[in-house]
Symmetry: C2
Subunit: 582 residues, 2 copies
């Protein structure tokens, strides 16, 4: 393709609202154009990348036995009412009424619609397993759209849905998708991790996120460099750092800690390790009556070590907190602890609270905690002696780098990632049971489908790829999803007939090899031309000039390279092929 | 591909709400599945056809120099307010508010958005001409969605938009698109006509519809079999059928025509040709004041020959009717004509009306018309003698078959068509001027873009193709857009190892030739298997059986053929290729 046959529009400056590098570079390189908050036009170069991403996904989905169809963007609310999601989904769900005042949604996903198809089309166990997917426009009315395509409102997603006769089948379908996703992300040429993830509100038992590694990612990925273990921070299990509780060796003492309300400040003041302190977090749960009024509230004290952080997802799995919790109000705290936040602890409570200790805290001895009196902490605190054993012991903290790996095969490391894919075992509860989506088994008995769902954020891939691969000059695309694999930059294309003829010839020779090559025929000056293609991030550049041609050579330079190779004209095609295959 | 790798789900009966054959067949063949009124899931076989249609469109658009991008489905209302379409567009425009109560539309087309892109990106005449297109989901909230994909609410459309510096350039862009559309429809393998069309409310000067010929079409296409002339009925010019007015030869006479209120009844009663009668149609126009109240109404009498029909689009072009008209009320008619509808005519009016005669009526002599008295008509009516000359003479009727062609090269014929494409010269008034979309010319002066827009209803193509190509057994697809070009039907695939081996071998051999072949590996019985593929309309079927293989032959049968050819195994690939290329 020639540059004049597509549309290239680069800018020196990114708009002020672009906060992250991928957003800035996509705007500057003319990949996207803002239409509204979180809504973008995909300009020709951006669309080329999208199409390549889609093609890889499509090929691997089909290879894995999934069948493509296309479900509508605008979906009747009735189906969403069957699962309760029409009510339960927050304002992210864009709701709309048609001219007859009937309710519709702009789809954020298509579980209801595919389940509706399945309950009509899949009548017998003989038709199972079955996996349908589509690549379609989605809309989520984000409260604060930002980061360009990373958290947009309208985006393209591939979503697949599997239907199986039993859990074993569903887990096999899940594994098939997991393997397909690995092939897809391998083919993208991105560094990624498949991490075990929490199943969250959607329910189900098995879940993995595919995270593209990037320092700018929003998610913490926990992994063990010496084993296969990988999970997101919400799920990664924190083992107790103390195998057992040591005997008490200090007396309980109330120590003045004026103005030191954080564990770090207290540890510094007392010249103790931070790991000797315990942090108090106060939650509350409410019991409601049928009218939705609060009839009783319970206050909870959660204890994690001073150098650890509470993991709210894990807290939400503690017996008694499963149905939802909130942070306690200051009034509730004062009522139960007799003290304002900052000096709270489990000793000397005014009213009963439920005490949940993190596994590590439960094994601590001689620890430090707030004294429930402003400007005082206790030191030398010991379970059993100074206060009752905790009501519950649970894993309620985030792991930190250096923690033992849950698989016992090393210690954990943490890196940042961007979630671009998700595979999810759904089971029967969320969709097939409420929608009465059933098949007949061998005995003629109706059984609900065991389901799984599998998403890839197509447009988000672009942002993630750029966050991972860029430098101060611009984007750096992996060959498989680059807008063009090779750009030919002829110097003086508009002036030198020889340069023009050789550039055209090289273009045709590379195109004939099936290489996605662009010839820059715009007649730009070398500096501006090179800057454009570095910004756009084409992986390989071939420069033709009168001087080079006289010597029978061209210059070839990979996007990450700092110098060019001088390549004899006769070898260019082979060298380009070799470079792209590497 | 093997049948078990896709999803085949056929039905004997179409649902009751399917009125037209394409809707029935698409439902029965499992191409679409209803999700709501006018909203369909595209099932795997239907989606295959869509993808082939899209690929052909995309190739020819790119060949014609258009550049693909992707504009959002959900579009901010602000742009639509700039052109006034947010207010002016009827309830077909799906309007929606986001969580912040901001207005959006679900796009039915993208003129505003592309014009917004152009005014930002195309700053100089040097960047022109430019043509952008996208293939995207559209939504139109039809009052009465029906006919399956023919008049659905959500559908896929290719829309292209050209930007030029002047009208000559815009008309050249228009011609380029016109030529590209011809290539596209040629490649689809459908019978079609490009017909000149009215430019309607959208404005502009040049417009052609691409109509797929089908007896079940909703549009009348007018064409001249002996010339290139083709237009839709709204536009096709009706020349006067009488070159000049004959001298009066009859006296005016009031004749009783009791109960005969139509021209046909009157002609029969009086034993006169229908072409001797004149039909009266009464319209009204209103003048409004600034508040929108009617301050004055004018009544119009439009006269067409008894065997002709009023063309409301043409009437709307008559001086005085251009700003909109309505049919007169019965009260207005009685006030001006002194008579109820049924016996109206231009003679003996109670109050002044504006009389518009069709070109043919203006040249009639000794004609028959209503006498403005119930149960009476005048005969022997002559202009000038019995009534004043008409206020206006204009082309206000539909052409009929046999009318002279406006190009003077023969007589007109009429056939039915389905509009699937439209090319449209927009000019500057509708979008570029109100949106201040301008470029700088050579003199540094800002000029509005001369625009054109060009649509193809992607999903509608499926319905139109089926309306044109089907028989009692099902659809008949042209090779280029068939879900599969060839189906291999092995008899006893699940029982006979030899049949299975040969079928697999033939599948691979055809696939290796780049032929889109499906092997039916479901193990269905021949009757059901053949019925499925006839319903689905695959253009060519190859049947393998043990008996045939013993003789070294297969049976090959085109979808329209009534008998099969016996083809030696060694020749099958060549014969299939030959058949598909034919």
């Amino acid at each position: 393709m020639k540059a004049t046959a597509t549309f290239i529009s680069t800018q020196k400056e990114a708009p002020a609202d672009a906060e992250v590098v991928s957003h800035k570079l996509m705007m500057r390189a003319g990949f996207i154009k803002r239409l509204g908050a979180g809504i973008y036009n995909y300009m020709p170069l951006g669309l080329r990348v999208i199409r390549k991403v889609e093609a890889i996904i499509r090929e691997e989905m089909v290879r894995a036995g999934a069948v493509e169809l296309l479900m509508p963007v605008v979906q009747p609310a009735e189906l969403w009412q069957e699962t309760g999601r029409f009510q339960a989904y927050g304002p992210e769900l864009m709701r709309v009424k048609d001219r007859h005042e009937r309710d519709f949604v702009i789809q954020p996903t298509s579980e209801e619609v595919i389940t509706d198809i399945a309950r009509q089309e899949l009548r017998s166990y003989k038709q199972l397993p079955r996996n349908f997917f589509h690549i379609q426009t989605k809309f989520r009315d984000e409260r604060r759209p930002r980061f360009g395509v990373m958290r947009g409102r309208e985006f393209t997603m591939k979503d697949a849905y599997s239907f199986d006769r039993d859990k074993a089948g569903a887990l096999k379908s899940y594994q098939t998708m997991f393997d397909a996703y690995k092939r897809i992300f391998d083919r993208f040429g991105l560094q990624y991790r498949a991490v075990a993830a929490d199943t969250g509100a959607i329910g189900g038992d098995a879940s993995h996120e595919f995270q593209v590694i990037a320092d700018t990612g929003e998610d913490d990925i926990v992994y063990c460099p010496t084993s296969e273990y990988a999970a997101n921070i919400e799920l990664a299990e924190a083992l107790p750092l103390l195998a057992s509780r040591a005997a008490a060796s200090q007396a309980l003492a109330k120590t003045p800690t004026p103005g030191k309300s954080t564990c770090a400040d207290v540890a510094e003041l007392l010249k103790l390790p931070l790991a000797q302190t315990v942090k108090s977090l106060v939650l509350a749960t409410d019991e409601l009556n049928a009218k939705g009024d609060i009839v009783k509230s319970t206050v909870w004290l959660l204890l994690v070590r001073g150098d650890h952080d509470l993991n709210e997802v894990k807290a939400g799995k503690v017996e008694g907190l499963k149905d939802g919790f909130r942070f306690a109000t200051v009034a509730e705290i004062e009522e139960h602890f007799g003290c304002k936040p900052g000096y709270l602890g489990p000793i000397g409570l005014k009213k009963p609270v439920k005490v949940v200790a993190d596994r590590t805290v439960a094994n601590m001895a001689d620890f430090v905690c707030g004294a429930n009196e402003a400007d005082f902490h206790f030191t030398g605190v010991n379970w059993g002696r100074d206060l009752p054993e905790p009501d519950l012991v649970a894993d309620i903290r985030n792991v930190v780098a250096g923690d033992p790996s849950p698989d016992g095969k090393g210690v954990l490391a943490i890196q940042r990632g961007i979630e671009v894919g998700h595979v999810f075992y759904l089971g029967t509860k969320k969709y097939s049971t409420p929608m009465k989506a059933q098949f007949l088994d061998e005995n003629g008995k109706a059984q609900p489908f065991e389901m799984g769902c599998y998403g890839i954020g197509v447009t988000r891939i672009l942002g993630a790829a750029i966050e991972q691969n860029h430098d101060e000059r611009g984007m750096i695309w992996p060959v498989a999803i680059a807008p063009f694999a090779v750009v030919i930059c002829p110097i003086g294309y508009d002036r030198s007939p020889e340069v023009q003829a050789e550039a055209d010839k090289l273009h045709d020779a590379l195109a004939a090899e099936g290489i996605d090559v662009l010839l820059d025929d715009r007649g730009e000056r070398p500096g501006a031309m090179f800057a454009d293609w570095e910004l756009i991030g084409v992986p390989l550049r071939v420069v033709l000039s009168d001087r080079g041609l006289k010597a029978g050579t061209v210059e070839m330079q990979g996007r990450r390279a700092t110098t060019a190779d001088i390549v004899p004209m006769a070898e260019v095609v082979a060298r380009v092929k070799g470079h792209l295959a590497a």
